[in-house]
Symmetry: C2
Subunit: 199 residues, 2 copies
């Protein structure tokens, strides 16, 4: 890694931390530069604009999300066990002490009314995520572990809803029961999608 890449990386690590707490709008190039002992012009040389920095922060968070949540699950055997892995990875991600989970969920609420490249990236990333969940469910259904007639997109939507509910309970209420509540909801979703429940 060159010195320039190393600096860019350090900026993004710090920027993700700041955005996790203060939102993407809370990113200030001046404050980031001061935090990292860089000049504002030095920081501008890496990102050019606040909008470009926001987009780079989202891209970095998305890459971490894929590496921590999706990729390890895809190494597991396909089927319900892979679904369970991706679910547990998401809980761990959202609860982690670096608050990275927070950033993407917060960004969905922050950017939903703000058109632009950051929003476009987030929409594409979240569509990919829901499509990945639907594909994992599809494999489980094709293997006979879930109902063959399962509506895969509806399943992905409901799984994502459980994850958002977990984030809400865990981070807003700091509720110790959030993990149990989310797992109970997920078990109910799986049970309702089981082959025994098919029409």
């Amino acid at each position: 890694m060159s010195k320039g890449e190393h600096t860019r990386d350090a900026i993004l690590v710090r920027a993700q931390f700041v955005a996790s707490g203060a939102g993407l709008q809370g990113l200030s190039i001046g404050r980031l530069a001061a935090d990292l002992g860089l000049s504002k012009s030095g920081l501008f040389a890496h990102f050019g604009s606040k909008e470009a920095l926001q987009l780079a922060v989202l891209e970095a968070a998305a890459a971490r999300f894929v590496a921590q949540v999706l990729s390890p699950a895809l190494k597991r055997p396909s089927g319900v066990s892979r679904l369970k892995a991706v679910f547990e990875n998401w809980l761990a991600w959202a609860a982690n002490s670096e608050r990275q989970g927070c950033l993407l969920v917060a960004a969905t609420a922050e950017l939903d009314d703000q058109d632009g490249p950051a929003r476009d990236f987030l929409v594409a990333m979240q569509r990919d995520w829901l499509a990945s969940l639907a594909r994992i469910a599809d494999k489980a259904a094709r293997a006979g572990e879930l109902d063959g007639a399962l509506d895969r997109e509806q399943f992905a939507y409901e799984l994502q809803s459980i994850l958002l509910g977990y984030h809400y309970a865990k981070r807003l209420f700091r509720d110790d029961k959030a993990d149990t509540r989310a797992r109970t909801a997920f078990a109910r979703l799986l049970a309702s999608a089981s082959p025994e429940n098919s029409a």
Copy 2:
């Protein structure tokens, strides 16, 4: 209503609109004053600080939420029909063109790491909301319309998860299917809580 109350009201209507798009942190007393043709000192006379303004905005949004979502449902007969009313009122609230629904959901993500009076208010308000959902479910269970052994808090948690999933799909993806997806998830939740499913 006195002139002072009228001005305070006008500030809060405008501030809710701004915060719906830009977040509570996006509220600027200077910009609000300019939008409304007031002096900054005149606006400060009403709220004293940006923090006090943020809190007042949340309180105003919470009052509108109760008036539009909860109160009309409580006028309906208790039981499953009241649950359905509160569910449909929430969808209408989140989808409305004034984007008020957005404000409270966005605030949960924005404030979850930021201790202070605004966060305390939001936590208390959201606890009340979940407790109201649990109470409505409790009445339905006591009337025999839902399983008597139903875990009311879990039910409220899962209902809230469906509502958050709706907000996500509707506002981030601008997904026309969001209404159908949320209603399908809610029907599944009700079915799993029906007395026929009791152990």
